[in-house]
């Protein structure tokens, strides 16, 4: 079905805009985000991007023309399709259209059909006056949902979070129902110890360490959004991660000890600020979220690596002595990527929390106000999150253990010491 790309409203009360550049001609292929034209008013010029993919099938205006705003600037459809056909097919389109992408899970599809999905704009044209809350827009974009096709329950028909959440695949990010994968690695008595992995890992990475810890407490671990069994969870920025983990841990109904590695350590610290979770102690291993830097090349290289050799080359950066990096760890990471959704999901998280070599989040203030027992363990040779930045950000009441000849994976490189320190921290909280 053809879609119209409209002449944008380039200023308040303006009815016309001049077409100053056209970057496409009839028959060109465009994809979402392509710059297709520039229009201007007396005061400003405006770049027009394609919001859908297809072939340009009509182009009513030429460069230099004065076009009417909110009229089609071009139509994009299937090759050979004409605008008249597009209009007819739009008219024939049923009033209720599925808003969920074909990949939707069965339950989601049922939900979609049960919802009053009135197609307000039958041609799928972007409605300039479309009302939606910012979070509803973000969730819809992340889920590939077209807001124009969702019946809004907010004021004056605005689409709000609950309208989108009802349609979102795998639950809306960071809102109710989006529980993360949480597993008990070892049963026990008392306050559970919950392990939160770092970027690119998953809960199974804790198994070797947990097996060594001689505590009687239940040992649990979870998969962060975009990782492991939570890869379908759409949360893709730091607040979203913290919200999703908080939501999940709330189900434990009480106190927890938290052990976090890298990004997971920053999440653990931020969780102490939620009023609804009693964090009894914190053990932070090579914590992110204290300084500003992260090895951006590593993040990019790690995500982009497709062969075992390439992945091993990047993962060696994680450790001080390459010999401590077991080939099985590299192979397990590679094997997990056989699920084609995993790397895109992790990339989405990476874009949300890192920008190049910068961490876009901070847990430093939260750590300063946390009063429970807290132990920080970091390697002097950490190439991913620099030790000096961790040192600089630590408040005086937090103990720091700096390990010689250890990199970003103290739990692998110095597993005995790390398990001792975790046990000591948990016990000190009583």
């Amino acid at each position: 079905m053809a879609e119209a790309i409209l002449v944008p409203q380039v200023g308040q009360d303006l009815t016309e805009a001049k077409v100053v550049e056209l970057h496409v001609k009839l028959g060109d292929q465009v994809k979402k985000g392509d710059l297709v034209a520039v229009v201007e008013s007396e005061k400003a010029s405006f770049e027009v991007e394609a919001f859908c993919e297809g072939t340009v099938i009509s182009l009513p205006w030429q460069v230099g023309d004065t076009a009417t705003v909110l009229e089609p600037l071009m139509h994009v459809g299937a090759p050979g399709e004409t605008v008249a056909e597009a209009a007819r097919s739009a008219a024939a389109e049923p009033a209720v259209v599925p808003a969920v992408a074909p990949a939707a899970q069965p339950e989601a599809a049922q939900v979609a059909q049960a919802e009053p999905l009135v197609a307000k704009v039958a041609t799928g044209v972007v409605n300039a006056a479309l009302r939606a809350s910012p979070i509803a827009r973000r969730v819809a974009a992340g889920q590939g949902l077209d807001l124009a096709r969702i019946a809004g329950s907010g004021p004056k028909g605005a689409v709000v979070l609950k309208d989108v959440a009802a349609l979102a695949v795998g639950g809306a990010p960071t809102t109710g129902g989006g529980a993360l994968e949480l597993r008990t690695l070892q049963a026990g008595q008392g306050t559970p110890v919950v392990f939160i992995h770092g970027f690119g890992a998953d809960l199974s990475s804790w198994r070797p360490l947990v097996a060594r810890i001689g505590l009687g407490s239940p040992m649990m671990a979870l998969d962060l959004p975009g990782h492991g069994g939570s890869r379908g969870h759409g949360a893709a920025d730091f607040a979203g991660l913290v919200g999703a983990v908080g939501q999940t841990l709330r189900g434990l109904q009480g106190s927890v000890h938290l052990v976090g590695h890298s990004l997971g350590a920053a999440v653990a610290v931020a969780l102490t600020q939620r009023g609804d979770l009693d964090v009894r102690s914190l053990t932070l291993i090579a914590p992110a979220g204290l300084g500003a830097s992260v090895d951006g090349a590593f993040v990019e290289g790690f995500l982009g690596a497709k062969s075992e050799a390439a992945l091993a080359a990047w993962m060696r950066r994680l450790v001080s002595d390459p010999a401590t990096l077991a080939p099985v760890l590299v192979r397990a990471t590679l094997a997990a990527r056989e699920d084609a959704d995993l790397v895109p999901a992790q990339s989405r998280v990476a874009r949300g929390v890192f920008e190049g070599s910068t961490q876009l989040f901070s847990a430093a203030a939260a750590l300063r106000s946390y009063q429970g027992p807290c132990t920080v363990i970091a390697g002097r040779d950490d190439a991913i999150v620099p030790l000096r930045e961790i040192e600089a950000a630590l408040p005086g009441h937090v103990a720091l253990h700096r390990l010689d000849r250890v990199g970003h994976l103290p739990q692998v490189e110095a597993a005995d010491l790390v398990q001792t320190l975790i046990a000591r921290t948990v016990r000190s909280a009583g």
């Binding site: 809350s133 910012p134 709000v160 600020q273 609804d276």
Partner: protein, 335 residues
């Protein structure tokens, strides 16, 4: 830790008493505060304990009192100047705004002004337009001043003790309706640092930010909303300057909805400024516009019915919370 139930005014008295006992440079002046023990009985008994040099009645001359306080603070003392109504502090605005607030910066940090102005504001019982104002926004606007607005006896005590140990001018704004309210206060040294908000009620659906007498009112609204199945988180910043932005932002990121309640009239108020912070930090996470519940932009009427109508009441808070959840604001009330 053990704790006792105290009235707000008793908690304030304990703070002054304890700090006067610890630090001989603390003194207090004001209208009727010595012989009479103060119009709100905050300073009762202090004259007998500390004598007329440290607990001193003044003539009805606010400009002079504030000038004495600011000057004494610059000279190294720790004065508390009690102003009967915040409305009357307007007489001392030059000393507060042009002297006390600027001195530290203009002396390159050499000079400090640990001047505490204790006063009270807000509506309560038909005392008319010149005795009912909530003027925190005037002080909030001036860089260099600390603005403190305790809502509970424990906060009143802890914040006043902290005020008497730090070195900047403090506008300590009490509320005439709160003096007789009771609450638990921890035994022993109880200090509340500036810039640390307090979550007065934990909730998940909507964040409501309020201070001073709007806290008890908001907590009542939260109770009613809980009966409707709506979970409200009530945040009390306790000090407006410095403001605990982090607590506010974290809460709104959690609930995605924000209501701000202030007794002061709306135009140019602190609520508007907090709303701007919330939208700047949380816009893309929010599911509804920030709601502000504030007083009307009019002088507070003398007539009690009109006075009540001019400032936020419990039902106004309930309606705003429901609007932020895209619910009919009055549906439940009608049932």
């Amino acid at each position: 830790m053990a704790e006792r139930e105290l009235m707000y005014r008793e908690a304030l008295r304990e703070a002054i008493d304890e700090e006067m006992g610890l630090n001989p440079s603390v003194f207090i002046i004001g209208e009727g505060i010595a012989e009479r023990g103060g119009s709100y009985k905050v300073t009762e008994g202090l004259l007998a304990k500390y004598g007329p040099k440290r607990v001193r009645d003044t003539p009805i001359a606010e400009a002079g009192m504030i000038g004495v306080g600011v000057g004494a603070a610059i000279a190294g003392a720790r004065p508390i100047v009690e102003i009967l109504y915040v409305d009357f502090a307007m007489l001392g605005m030059d000393m507060i705004v042009n002297q006390a607030a600027k001195f530290r910066l203009m002396t390159g940090g050499d000079g400090r002004v640990p001047f505490i102005m204790r006063t009270q504001g807000g509506t309560g019982g038909g005392v008319a337009a010149q005795h009912s104002q909530s003027l925190e926004a005037l002080f909030y606007h001036i860089p260099g001043l600390r603005v403190v607005m305790p809502s509970t006896p424990a906060d009143a005590k802890g914040l006043l003790k902290y005020a008497l140990r730090q070195d900047d001018p403090v506008m300590f704004l009490e509320h005439k309706h709160l003096y007789m309210t009771k609450g638990m206060v921890p035994d022993g040294e109880h200090i509340v640092e500036f810039g640390k908000g307090d979550i007065k009620r934990v909730g998940t659906d909507v964040t409501v930010i309020a201070w001073s007498n709007m806290i008890p009112r908001t907590l009542e609204a939260a109770e009613e909303l809980a009966r409707q199945g709506i979970s409200v988180e009530v945040i009390d910043p306790r000090t407006l300057v410095p403001l605990d932005r982090e607590m506010i932002v974290n809460s709104v990121l959690k609930t995605r909805r924000c209501v701000i309640v202030q007794e002061a009239n709306r135009r140019g108020g602190v609520a508007s400024d907090i709303a701007s912070i919330v939208q700047e930090e949380c816009f893309y996470e929010m599911d509804a516009p920030v709601e502000i519940v504030a007083g009307m932009d009019i002088p507070v009427p003398f007539n009690l019915t009109l006075e009540k109508a001019s400032v936020p009441q419990k039902d106004d808070v309930v309606a705003a919370v429901r609007r932020s959840l895209h619910l009919d604001p009055f549906a439940e009330a009608a049932e």
